[in-house]
Amino acid sequence: MKGIDYFAPPRLEEAVSLLRRYGKKAALMAGGTDFLLRLERGLVQPGVIVDLKKIRDLRGINSNRAGLKIGAATLMDEIASSHLIQTRYGILAKGAAAVGSIQTRNRATLGGNLCNASPAADTASPLIALGGRARIAGAKRVREVPLEEFFLGPGKSCLQPNEILKEIFIPSPVQRSAGSFQRCTRTAMDIALVNCAVFLSLASKGGVVQDIRIVLGAVAPTPVRVQAAEDVLRGKNPDEKTIEEAADCAAAGVRPIDDVRSSASYRRAMVRVLTKRAIEEALREAGGEA
């Protein structure tokens, strides 16, 4: 860790330029809650740290008819306590509120959580369920990637060298839509052993599920949508049996591992339990009958 240089540029272009100049020697940081751990453990040994916190363009929660824009360097706490996000994009607020402690959420950023690319990231599953899109700034232009294509593997996002995640866009929720976010942990303050985000919309009248996304975290190399489970419910007015079928499908569609936190079989069992709970809650919230 000797001889590290540190820059906190006020503009995004400068940050990109620093990345280009220093190449592999540069590391990005925002909140630092993941970054400092990696630095401490020698997992990353940068010559140059580029701190994104001073870049105004990367902060802020802005909403219009099209949807919601959240700057990548927006704090978890801001997202968790935003009245707007709590009421219209509730599962994202829940996900952000689940990230660590108050101390963590006062520093950790949405972008950091996503770019750290842990399969257990609590903002990732809700964002994928909400149809979120990542807007990525590079040397040339800003490109847009659906969140479900953002994650490539544990710790690996689709960011190319010299790219910076700029903001997340979430399309406005349609009528009669609602979501649910569920987690399974060992103690109350814990990384998720499994998390599950469901977002669905019902037809304009009645209980038929028009569209649905079911996303599971910590049970595959990336957060994963289980489309087979979604297909069980799409176009149906689900009863308990259908919901259970969807939950079973979700459990079959994941690839959990054994690790120090949990066995694969327990995780798989929890996928079923959480998916069922999430679907039921989402249906209730959307105005349907479970």
């Binding site: 000797k2 060992r186 103690t187 109350a188 120090v260 066995s263 327990y266 069992a269 339990v273």
Partner: protein, 745 residues
């Protein structure tokens, strides 16, 4: 009583809430301090073929590198002399100390550590005691038969560090008399104290070769003796200054980093500070011994226990260290707080390739209670007996003995404590609810006492100073102040009581084993009583009265019935300087105390989620027999803290190893209870002044960690009908057991 029995704030509390307290890593000197780091082995068991520290020595900023070469070739150990401070032939645990460096800053020290080259020949390792004891297992201590050991260390052979059978009566006959016999096996894995302050020490060696070590420790005299032995110094050449301690729980009693700091200080000529990282602390500091337990119990159909055989296998770690303390405790506790005519305890303590296990709060207590009390519950259910009734039927009473307890037990209040817990929890009035259950368990602890001496002196203004070497862990120091204040008829604020260091404190017992108050408190009370006598002597002369006519009260000494005929304690203090007696002071000593039972009885209500297996503790009632509560605030705090720590062991805590390396050496994956997990603990004290102990006080720090895992296990069984025999009772284990149960219908 005016001061004893009051829930007064700790004497050092103001420094704690302002952040002024000086803990191990807070010590600062006028002189520059080097940062020390220790090189630990990456292998659990390996021969060392070579050590090359030359590159590290040459790194700019490095002021000293030490290895075994820099220390006298001493093998040390309290029970078995099996440990050399720096390994040079063999390493026996991941983190076994090989070398240490002192440098101008942490980065340089870390870099220097990386530059030390060690060649290893890796050997097979054991993290389980049973595995280590198998015939033909690779020897962890190849020269074990050449080690010196205390004569009480029986059965040393190969990887078995200790083996002893304790027999009472005749269990073969007992089992023949039994109408039912039950056999069960249990396992309690290694768990860690996780005091929030990691180990830290600062050492300097002066021009005369005297080493001074600032260190948070529960056992300053033991640390002093260990350092003196390792460096072959007389005791007066080692000064241990206990700093404020950020939690100990039995884990800050063995030397860990202090000798390395001293070695580096000696070689560099400068002060050296070593602070363990949390990961290091988890890996090498002294956790709770993992334990396999087998219980065979013979009963009559009415629930009377007629015979009990217990087999215990402890995996004590790479070096014996304090390992036999745990064994000695276990022998006394294994059969439970029950009157059983025929008992056989077969106890094995095996070397394993992990950290020396230490006497973590009530060593062997929770493991034994988990097994013993789970089985009692199983038996009660099989015999259709109420779990409380079955325990009442067999619980010890005044004058009873349990194996190895050292004589008829006095101050026994097991039944009362059990009934108090049951009553407070509403044991008889319960509504059955689905997936909710209630469990009860008894905790057996025997409190001894150790050689201690304490001094009290009267200052010239009537205030008093207590000279004690015991450190404050559970509020002991404050309690000592209360005892002195009570005896001298003053307020706590008039008494100065803080921990003195090893150069100046009269020899003190360790702050552990729940006996510091009993031992040090007794010595302190005695010293205060002697001081009181001296006060009256001086006052009697001045007041021209008989000593027997005098009263010491309200910061004065006066003639009974004529309070105006008196002196303030300040006046007495002044007078004593010209009195023939001289300054008023007394140092008194106490020695071994007979074992005294300190029983705890807990009842807990839990809810088990049948889909996830997760356990929620809805209610927790803890009753404890405390003798006399010198400071009820301290006592409550100790009980509550012990329960929450015990709940961690019961539900979420476990040291997980792979190739001898701990996989979860951090709070991310070693899960202790946060505020969101901890239930409120309802505390009920049973107070009957004990036979001995200051004002009849018993030890309070440990009993309430003991029955927690069993209480929870019994409650879980009551809730969902599954019996888990190995800790912790994770959601995963419970769910699997529920699913198994449902399958078999």
């Amino acid at each position: 009583m005016k001061v004893v029995g009051q829930g007064l704030p700790r004497v050092e509390i103001l420094e704690k809430v302002t952040g002024e307290s000086v803990f191990g890593a807070d010590v600062r000197l006028a002189a520059p301090i080097l940062i020390g780091k220790i090189l630990g082995s990456p292998h659990a068991h390996a021969r060392i073929k070579s050590i090359d520290a030359r590159k590290a020595e040459r790194l700019p900023g490095v002021k000293a590198v030490v290895t075994a070469q820099d220390l006298p070739p001493v093998k040390y150990g309290r029970f078995v002399r099996d440990e050399e401070y720096f390994a040079h032939k063999k390493v026996r645990l991941v983190g076994d100390k090989i070398a240490a460096v002192a440098a101008i800053d942490e980065e340089t020290a870390e870099e220097a550590i990386k530059l030390i080259k060690v060649e290893y020949e890796v050997l097979p390792h054991f993290t389980d005691g049973v595995e280590a004891m198998r015939e033909g297992a690779a020897l962890i201590h190849e020269e074990y038969d050449q080690y010196q050991a205390l004569s009480m260390v029986e059965g040393r052979k190969g990887n078995i560090c200790y083996h002893k059978q304790t027999v009472q009566g005749d269990t073969n006959r007992g089992f023949q008399e039994a109408e039912r016999i039950f056999e069960h096996s249990f396992y309690a894995p290694m768990v860690h104290q996780t005091y929030i302050e990691p180990h830290a020490a600062l050492a300097r060696v002066d021009a005369s070769g005297k080493a001074t070590v600032w260190v948070p420790t529960q056992a300053q005299f033991f640390i002093r003796a260990s350092i003196a032995e390792i460096f072959q110094l007389p005791l007066i050449k080692v000064r241990v200054i206990p700093t404020e301690i950020g939690g100990g729980f039995g884990g800050k009693m063995l030397p860990t980093i202090e000798p390395a700091a001293v070695a580096l200080a000696r070689k560099s000529g400068m002060a050296v500070q070593i602070v363990m990282s949390r990961a290091e602390d988890f890996q090498v500091a002294n956790p709770r011994t993992p334990c396999h337990l087998r219980y065979k119990t013979g009963v009559k159909l009415d629930g009377t226990i007629v015979a009990r055989e217990v087999e215990l296998v402890f995996g004590t770690g790479a070096y014996c260290g304090n390992g036999l303390v745990i064994c000695q405790r276990a022998e006394m506790l294994a059969s439970g707080p029950y009157r059983i005519p025929n008992v056989k305890i077969d106890l094995f303590c095996a070397y394993t390739n992990h950290a020396n296990c230490g006497p973590y709060r009530a060593p062997s207590g929770p493991q034994i209670s988990f097994a013993s009390e789970s089985q009692i519950d199983i038996i009660a259910r099989e015999l259709n007996l109420d779990p409380v009734e079955m325990r009442l039927k067999n619980a010890i009473e005044e004058g009873d003995t349990t194996p190895a307890c050292g004589g008829p037990l006095k101050s026994v209040h097991a039944k009362e404590t059990l009934l108090k817990a049951a009553e407070a929890a509403g044991w008889k009035e319960r509504r059955r609810e689905k997936n909710r259950g209630r469990g009860i368990a008894l905790g057996y602890w025997l409190v001894g006492g150790m050689a201690s001496s304490a001094g009290v002196k009267l200052n010239e203004d009537g205030t008093a100073t207590v000279m004690t070497g015991v450190i404050d862990l559970s509020g002991t120091v404050t309690s000592l102040g209360q005892i002195v204040a009570e005896v001298l008829g003053v307020e706590l604020d008039d008494v100065h009581v803080r921990t003195a260091d090893s150069d100046f404190a009269p020899h003190s017992t360790i702050s552990a084993g729940s006996q510091a108050l009993r031992s040090m408190g007794s010595a302190t009370k005695w010293a205060a009583e002697e001081v009181k006598k001296q006060i009256m002597e001086v006052a009697a002369d001045k007041l021209e009265a008989e000593v027997s006519d005098l009263v010491v009260e309200g910061k004065r000494v006066y003639v009974k019935g004529s309070p105006e005929r008196g002196l303030s304690l300040g006046q007495v203090g002044q007078l004593s300087l010209t009195h023939k007696r001289g300054p008023i002071v007394s140092i008194q000593s106490v020695s071994i105390f007979p074992n005294q039972p300190a029983i705890s009885a807990h009842v807990t209500d839990v809810e088990v989620n049948p889909e996830t297996g997760a356990v929620k503790v809805l209610r927790y009632v803890a009753a404890q027999d405390v003798g006399t509560a010198i400071n009820p605030l301290s006592v409550m705090g100790q009980v509550q803290g012990a329960v929450i720590q015990g709940l961690g062991q019961a539900l979420t805590e476990e040291c997980i190893f792979q190739n001898g390396r701990m996989l979860n050496p951090g709070f991310l994956d070693y899960k202790i209870f946060s505020s969101l997990d901890a239930p409120r603990v309802e505390v009920h004290l049973v107070e009957h002044a004990a036979e001995d102990g200051p004002f009849g006080a018993k030890g309070i720090g440990e009993p309430s960690i003991i029955p927690v895992p069993a209480a929870v296990a019994n409650a879980v069984y009551d809730a969902v009908g599954v019996r888990i025999s190995d800790l912790p009772l994770t959601a995963e284990k419970i769910l699997m057991a529920i699913q198994e149960k449902n399958k078999s219908g």
